[in-house]
Amino acid sequence: MPVLVRIAFRNLLEHKAKSLIIGILLALGVVILIVGNSFMDTAAKGVKDTFIGNYTGDVFIHATAKYPVSLFGVQAAGGQESTPNLPYYDKVVEKLKSIRGVKSTAGQVTGFGLVSPRDSDKQGFSLLFGIEPDKYYELFDNATVVEGRMLRSGDEGILISKKQAERYAKEFEKDVKAGDEVLLTGMGKGGFKIRAVPIVGIIQYKSETEATDFISYVDVTTLRIIMGMTLGNDEDTPITEEQKSLLAMSDEDDLFGAEEIVAPSAAKNAPVAANVAAAAAGTVAKKASVADSGAWHFELARLENPNDAPRVVAELNQWFASEGINASAGDWKAAAGPFAQSIDVVRIVFNIAIIIVAVVAVIIMMNTLVISVIERTGEIGTMRALGAQKGFVRKMFLVETLTIASVFGLIGMLLAFAIIGVLNAIGIQASNPFLEILFAGKTLKAAVNPLSVINSLVLVGIVAVLAHLYPVSLALKIQPVRAMQTE
């Protein structure tokens, strides 16, 4: 064994108290990092798998908006912003399907609505996903029927979760069953719209969390109507600047030339114009109750290989830019919106906590090492007098630091494995909806990621090396003459 390692190990044993102080800090750091990262990784993977498998798919396409858009709508600061319709829907879907690796696609409309029984004014809130059942179920098999049946294409009705049914029962003060008719109230640009629909079925989500229990599935036609996405409504389909300038022209003369071929008679024209306007208003009034079958908020896609998502997203965004389509593609994180962000927020908080702990650890370790250097002044002076260059002293302290980091890093790692094993065996229960999302279910099951273990050990090594820099600079200042000074 090289002499430096020998000296390092023996110094560890010789100065047990100091070694323990530094070692416990390092081991604790490794435990926090490994256990924390395991929970973070598990939560991140859980949320990702839950959302990709059940709600978002691998690729998410939406119309561009002023604020970030997720599957739950536009995340506008300080209030509700209506979700814009996906422009050139058919063209976009055609392009999406033509991309290599795209397995299946489905459209979705999202809205918020109030559900109330026919014979009561009591109401319950619901997040409504408007779907075309056949296509949607090809993408997601996310629920099992508890009562009634799933939605079928051509149905008009609503599917609610078991938990939602129980909540409604409490709010309505009566049982809520499959087959009951409820009033669905939504608000779009055309104001409040109410529609009576039957509860087709009560379902249980495979990945059950309180947050997702609020989601109810409605046939897309019903949702379009209550959201005001009807033929007579000029929903805010995003258009290009060029299109806007064309629409801004006052009349057809601007388009086809200003020269008058036949001079119009103002007296004759006035009643005709009024009649046309009246007729048009009537048509609009009728069309306001007919859903716009081409209006979708989002298009979701599952891929043969989920790892291809970045490629597909990039290709789509490039295509949108080249075609001048105001749409954007994103991965599951974009679709999951606040739910995915919650994981990032927790990870940022965790990392800040780790940095604070690391700084405190560096300071404590530094002080302990400084004391060690002071105590070993004579020894270092002797080594220098005997012919040790400064580099040797530097190396000696580095090896000692890395030895202590390795020994206690490994102890910390084993301790972390044991803690994770015990916690998994006990099974920590999520006590609130936020934790349910983080735990990706009711119970936390943490898995150890080897890369995260290596990262944790490297990080602790870096902390130890940083902590030894100042003490070693003091050691290098010790002159060999100190060896001659009697203690």
Binding site: L386, K390, T486
Partner: protein, 248 residues
């Protein structure tokens, strides 16, 4: 052959706001193979002179040459190399590395140089030194398991392991009882004869001074006597004699 040449050396230490002149212009020469004692009472400047010969301290004025090489303008790295290659040290408090065994302590200076010594030769040489200092039974023991005399023997073997031309010993018997002290000096003398290594040791013990064949006596930072005993009495530098005379 002159191996150490000290010329007009002064050493001033700052002590708070005042300066203390520990050595006040000292000159002398030491010949190769000498067994030389630098004697004098406490505070006479013995250790300061030894530190400057040992290249662990620099003179405020004057020059010190080791094996014909002036040390004045050498860098820290060059001084360290010079110490490693030319000098061996025996300290008053033994200064053994506590976590290393007797054998490892003796071997330690060999690990500091760039010179590659075949393992077999190295082992043989260390074995020889251990036997020479009479610690064959103790080679695996740690310093704290040894008596003062045994520790100083380890220090002597360690000082010799790099085959230095000069061994410096700062009051090597100060922490030993008189009998053990005599044994240590006898051992040093024996090695001096057998290996022709120059030994320079500081002491204030008159009995030990008597064993040396060259004595430089200091008082208040000045050489007051530079005495060579036996056949080589004429080998004292002219400067030495003049300086000593002046000090008287």
């Amino acid at each position: 052959m002159t191996i150490v040449e000290v010329t007009g050396v002064r050493k001033v230490y700052p002590l708070g706001k005042v300066e203390v002149e520990a050595v006040k212009g000292v000159s002398f020469c030491i010949e190769k193979g000498d067994f030389i004692s630098i004697a004098g009472p406490s505070g006479s400047g013995k250790t300061t002179i030894l530190n400057m010969i040992g290249c662990v301290d620099r003179p405020t004025a004057g020059t010190v040459s080791i094996a014909g090489r002036p040390t004045k303008d050498l860098s820290d790295k060059e001084l360290t190399t010079l110490r490693h290659e030319t000098l061996g040290f025996i300290f008053q408090s033994f200064n053994l590395i506590p976590v290393l065994s007797v054998r490892e302590n003796i071997e330690f200076p060999l690990l500091l140089g760039n010179e590659r010594v075949p393992k077999k030769d190295k082992e043989k040489w260390i074995d020889y030194l251990i036997e020479e200092v009479g610690l064959g039974q103790w080679s695996t023991h740690k310093p704290n398991e040894l008596s003062g005399g045994q520790r100083q023997r380890v220090a002597i073997a360690r000082a010799l392991v790099t085959r230095p031309q000069i061994v410096l010993a700062d009051e090597p018997t100060a922490n030993l009882d008189s009998k053990t002290g005599e044994q240590i000096i006898e051992l040093m003398k024996k090695i001096n004869r057998e290996m022709e290594t120059t030994f320079i040791f500081s002491t204030h013990d008159a009995k030990i001074v008597g064993i040396a064949d060259h004595v430089i006596r200091l008082q208040d930072g000045l050489v007051i006597e530079n005495l060579r005993r036996g056949a080589d009495a004429s080998a004292i530098c002219a400067d030495d004699a003049a300086a000593a005379e002046e000090a008287r």
